[in-house]
């Protein structure tokens, strides 16, 4: 099983590495877009999927990251300052947003984060002196590394890929450590967790902050990818979309965001080109999401679990049947 997994990962990574050679600008751009949403939803998956905090405000962090990057670049500083700054800023704001989560839980927390998102969006739209308001910020540059320009779509894609891989490794490590269990405990039963010395406060705040930092990095990369930002991609609707990606992929599954972001980003693009769909690609996308949920309520990545469960129950019943024959029934 472990070997199979490693093989899959290696194959996927290899595919991601060579893919741009076979794609034109659009394809490469789309892949970068997808990777950026993988990074963002990896963070959200930590908050929602692992720690069980219902957050509907993730797009706000994406936005904060994007604006940080744009403003840093506009001010003449480097991309390489912008990216960590975006992460740190989002980490800090994430910590602050975590505080409501200490007071309210479940849907009420979802409401609170949704309100937070709207507030951030209002600031982005109305504070024209800072954010350019509805006109947005144009000509956001792409970086260069060791004198190598990453301006082109391909080089930039490789940068995004590298960052995504590094962040995935970091998250994987974190989740495998006792922290991962603590987050899950928090999700399952915070009252019990608290009485076992698991700091609900600490882990809740951290789950928000780390999740937010991922979104911040994603936002920074996003700004440079599109090279123009305005408030629209950071609305509550965008948060809801990211939430959708996490749940469709499989909340609490490490690779969930990869599939979820594919559903959210790549699927609609693919549907555009399906013959006969054209104008109906969005309704089809919506319907696909509904069907996916009905079919796999625990997300796409629950498929292996399902197969395993089925196999196990088959084996168990076979074993019992054999046993029953041997023992017989006492009357």
């Amino acid at each position: 099983m472990k070997k199979l997994n490693a093989f899959f990962i290696a194959a996927a990574l290899a595919a991601m590495l060579v893919a741009p050679q076979f794609l034109k600008n659009y394809g490469v751009y789309l892949l970068s877009y997808w990777l950026i949403f993988i990074i963002a939803t990896m963070g959200l998956n930590l908050t929602v999927g692992y720690a069980g905090q219902k957050s509907l405000g993730h797009a706000a962090f994406l936005g904060i990251g994007a604006y940080t990057m744009a403003l840093v670049l506009k001010a003449g500083f480097s991309f390489w300052l912008g990216l960590p700054l975006a992460a740190v800023l989002c980490f800090a704001v994430g910590l602050v947003l975590g505080f409501p989560a200490l007071r309210v839980q479940t849907i009420y927390l979802a409401f609170a984060t949704l309100g937070f998102n709207t507030a951030i969006w209002l600031v982005m739209r109305n504070e024209e002196w800072l954010t350019g308001g509805t006109f947005g910020i144009n000509n956001v540059a792409r970086p260069s590394l060791f004198g190598l320009s990453l301006e082109g779509n391909r080089p930039y894609y490789y940068l995004v890929l590298a960052i995504a891989v590094v962040l995935a490794l970091a998250l994987g490590g974190l989740l495998r450590s006792p922290w991962g269990k603590a987050f899950t405990a928090l999700r399952d039963n915070p009252i019990r967790a608290e009485s076992l010395g698991i700091s609900v406060r600490g882990y809740t705040l951290l789950s928000f902050a780390i999740g937010a930092a991922y979104a911040g990095v994603a936002g920074g990369l996003f700004a440079s990818l599109v090279q123009f930002i305005e408030p629209a991609p950071f609305t509550v609707a965008a948060s809801i979309m990211m939430y959708l990606m996490v749940v469709v992929g499989g909340p609490g599954y490490f690779w969930g965001p990869v599939l979820g972001a594919a559903v959210g980003v790549v699927l609609p693009e693919w549907l555009r080109d399906v013959p006969g769909v054209s104008d109906w690609y969005l309704p089809m996308f919506g319907a696909a999401v509904v069907l996916l949920m009905v079919w796999l309520p625990d997300g796409l990545l629950s498929i292996p679990d399902r197969i395993r469960a089925r196999r196990e129950s088959r084996e168990a019943s076979r074993a019992r049947a054999a046993m029953a024959q041997k023992v017989g029934v006492v009357q």
Partner: protein
């Protein structure tokens, strides 16, 4: 698969006790009989009538079967009184209101807390409320899963006495208990399960008189099977 090739009879007007270690499948038996879980194979009959696969509602309304599950099964935000009212939802509001005071007589503790939210009651109070809610229906058959959990000794005795009285009045009682000794004292028959299989079916007084009883139950049902086989 949790239950395996299990057959037994519970007789009318008798208290049949379902015993066994944790995870033996006792609760599963009751849930399955009450139509909450699907039967993979086999049949459940009531008075000779096949009720396999009947819905909980049909069992309750048509066949007079009531069920008191093991876990928490109250509507936490409603008051104790409202919970009782809902308990009689299949009887109609008028009958229910008439019967509630009778039931409350048995459980003075609940009566005092009648207008508190069910979730704010203590564990034992909640259990009493649940038992009371089922008695309201005056069922012909009552399936009851570990009524003694959380009840103080006096109340356990009271509940057992009450069940005895119901049985003597013709009600069929099928009860799961871990409070083995006191339960055996009031029951008519006992069945023991182990890993979803039936390992013993005896008269309660016989089992109680068995000099090995201590060892039987302290040593687990495996020993019981061995002893009786």
């Amino acid at each position: 698969m949790i239950l395996n090739n299990l057959s037994f009879k519970a007789k009318r007007g008798r208290i049949t006790l379902l015993l066994g270690p944790n995870g033996a499948g006792k609760s599963t038996v009751l849930k399955t009989m009450f139509g909450l879980l699907k039967v993979r194979q086999g049949a459940i009959r009531l008075d000779g009538q096949d009720i396999t696969g009947a819905s909980a509602r049909d069992l309750l309304v048509k066949h007079g079967v009531a069920f008191v599950p093991q876990g928490r099964n109250l509507f936490g935000q409603l008051t104790a009184f409202e919970n009782l009212e809902l308990g009689g939802i299949t009887l109609g509001m008028k009958t229910t209101r008439e019967r509630i005071p009778e039931v409350l007589e048995f459980f003075p503790r609940v009566k005092e807390r009648m207008h508190s939210a069910a979730a704010s009651l203590s564990g034992g109070e909640q259990k009493q409320l649940e038992v009371g809610r089922a008695l309201l229906l005056r069922p012909k058959v009552i399936l009851i899963d570990e009524p003694s959990i959380g009840l103080s000794p006096i109340v356990v005795q009271d509940v057992f006495k009450l069940l005895r009285r119901l049985a003597d009045g013709g009600t069929t009682v099928l009860m799961v208990e871990q409070n083995v000794k006191s339960a055996l004292r009031m029951a008519d028959e006992a069945i023991a399960l182990e890993s979803g299989r039936l390992v013993l079916h005896k008269r309660a007084d016989e089992l109680l008189a068995d000099p090995n009883i201590e060892r039987l139950f302290l040593g687990g049902a495996h020993a019981a099977a061995a002893a009786t086989a």
